[in-house]
Amino acid sequence: MSESGTSLGRLSIWQAALVIARRDFTAILFSRAFLFFLLGPLFPLAIGVLAGGIGGNIANSDGPETIAIAMSAQDTAHILAARKNLEPVIARDLPKLESLPASSMEPPFDPVHFLATDKRQFAAVLSGSTEKPVLTATSERLQQWHGVVGLICAAAMSGNSLAIPHVAEQHLASSSLSQKRGRAITAKGAQAIMFLLIMLLAGMVLSNLVEEKGNKIIEILAAAIPIDAVFLGKLFAMLGISVLGITVWGSVAILGIGIAGISPSDIPTPAVGWPVFLLLGTIYFAMGYLLLGSIFLAIGSLASTVREVQTLSMPVTMFQVLVFFLASQASDKAGSALEWLAIIFPLSSPFTMLARAATDGHLWPHIAALAWQITCVAVFIKVGAKLFRQRVMKTGKLSPRKRRFFGAGSLLFRNSSARHR
């Protein structure tokens, strides 16, 4: 048949995607799910605070780190005086010392038995004499106190005439080592936040699609606009939601930092600087989300119930966790083959490159990585949209092998169309 007349028109794929994105964005914005989404980051934070509190309580319940002195009265007096003299110089590293009453040291005094049975829970026992001190404690404590106990004893033997010169101080904002450590922390933190956000969003986009199938609206959409536009619209609506979420969280974080009185200089500055790091973070977040979101949407097209979605998305979620660990490990080994693998593998690339932005100041690798990621996003969206189109409306033709593979999900029109209305 040949075409006749002029086209009467339809929305372009981008116009149609905008209609879908606008609807989804508004719907999500005024839904309870968005509130949970906004509160999402509070949960790991709360867990962290609780876990920290519990750890602190456990640490505090161990009692003060005190060494019991089981020496002669004279040596004990010298030791205590030496500690007092050393306190202005090395206060932080000095252990607490407590002399044991003579009744506690009746021979034969066994420090091991004493530490095991004494209710005051000393961390160590210093016995012997100032000339031949014996420190009894666990290996960890011995490692911690060996030097300082020796110093106290030396000061005690010198009759507290041990001359400690004044050390002049020259303050640095950070050393290269501390800077490196700080940046590594920034890198890990940024990776973790990005992973959490992307997983939250991908889950939301999936639920949204399943709900749509349940509402049977998809046929109206498919009749009016290209199904690819539905796919793109949903993807970009959620991206818009995430940008809004990040803006809210960012503002709250800045406010929190301000209220807490934390100076910006206290936060480790990323290698590329904060403005570029935040820009790159946003772009890498968008890339990571679009890559995973397109996979999740394609999965959503296979499923018709929440249970099916959970079944199908579980392996992908587990896989994504592995990818996150890969990126995390790779960021510890800059320049290694593992890092290159994590940069090249599309799903781990945004995470790895974000970490790199925190630790390495060169910008050109980001340009190259973004070009690669954009290419991957285009391929993922195209393949995802194709699968979505084939499975949601069952219009395409799948090979028998693919049909067996993707036949796992019960589809919207499997039942209705097969009834041959």
Partner: protein
Amino acid sequence: MKHLPDSAIGAGISSHGLAIEARGLVKRFDGTLAVDGVDLFVPEGAIYGVLGPNGAGKTTTLRMLLGIIEPDEGERRILGHSRPQDIAKVIGYLPEERGLYPSMKAYEAIAFMGALRGLPIAEGRRRARIMLEENGLEHAMERQIRQLSKGMAQTVQLLGTLVHNPRLVVLDEPFSGLDALNQGKLEILIRSLADKGTTVIFSTHVISHAERLCENIAIIAGGKVPYAGNVDTARDRIPAQVRLETRNTDGPWQAALPANTQKEGNVWTFPLPDNGVEPLLRALIEGDAGILSLSIERAGLHDAFVAIAGETAASQLKSDTAVEMDE
């Protein structure tokens, strides 16, 4: 298209005035033949009915016409275009499985459906408010879809189908789920659309709707279309029935009755003879049959459906209608 089937030509349809032309549409699902070589020719401005029992292939045919699913074989042209998606702005579609976003307000839902067809959202909202008022639903304007009754939600969706003033309206089982009052309102709406030049094609398993509304129909059964064309032509496939009531039940005049006459008491029914009823009337009068009444009844669409699609399809159609009435 140069070669139109006899049914299309018989219905006075030329290829130039067609809103829908479909030829040899075939669709299989997992190896099962759902639609088997369907031809459809719908004139512009007509109200066209696709009549058949549930599972006959109506929805699949409509979906293929709209490009929601692609046919495995065959061709279709909608308003002169072989890709229906390219003219989505002038098509309105009401699917059988009604779908709206539950959290959307009624007027927003209508505007959204218009936006999908290229109507600016602000204009869609303006039209939606007017349409809801015109249909007595102004009180539902700001209410969410989930707060509306099923009938009201269905009306909202129908208005959404029409908000962009489409040239072609495709309605899949539009009467399904509506009470008698709303069915009547929908019939009036469909007629008014056709009066304005809009082509309306709808599927139904209720013969009376097609009989009241359509000039042309397609009967579909088992994925095939055994008849497509004028409703009168379909009826004319069955000879009109003569119903004769006499005072006397016996007499030599009986010899004038056709051989296949059926008798029930003093009522006689038989197909209208080829040479009309005048010779018979003379014989009855001369034979003193005592004519109490004589009427010639034209065959209904149901009779035509039985004759065309077969008893099985007809009883399924009847049973589908009964099930819906029960619901």
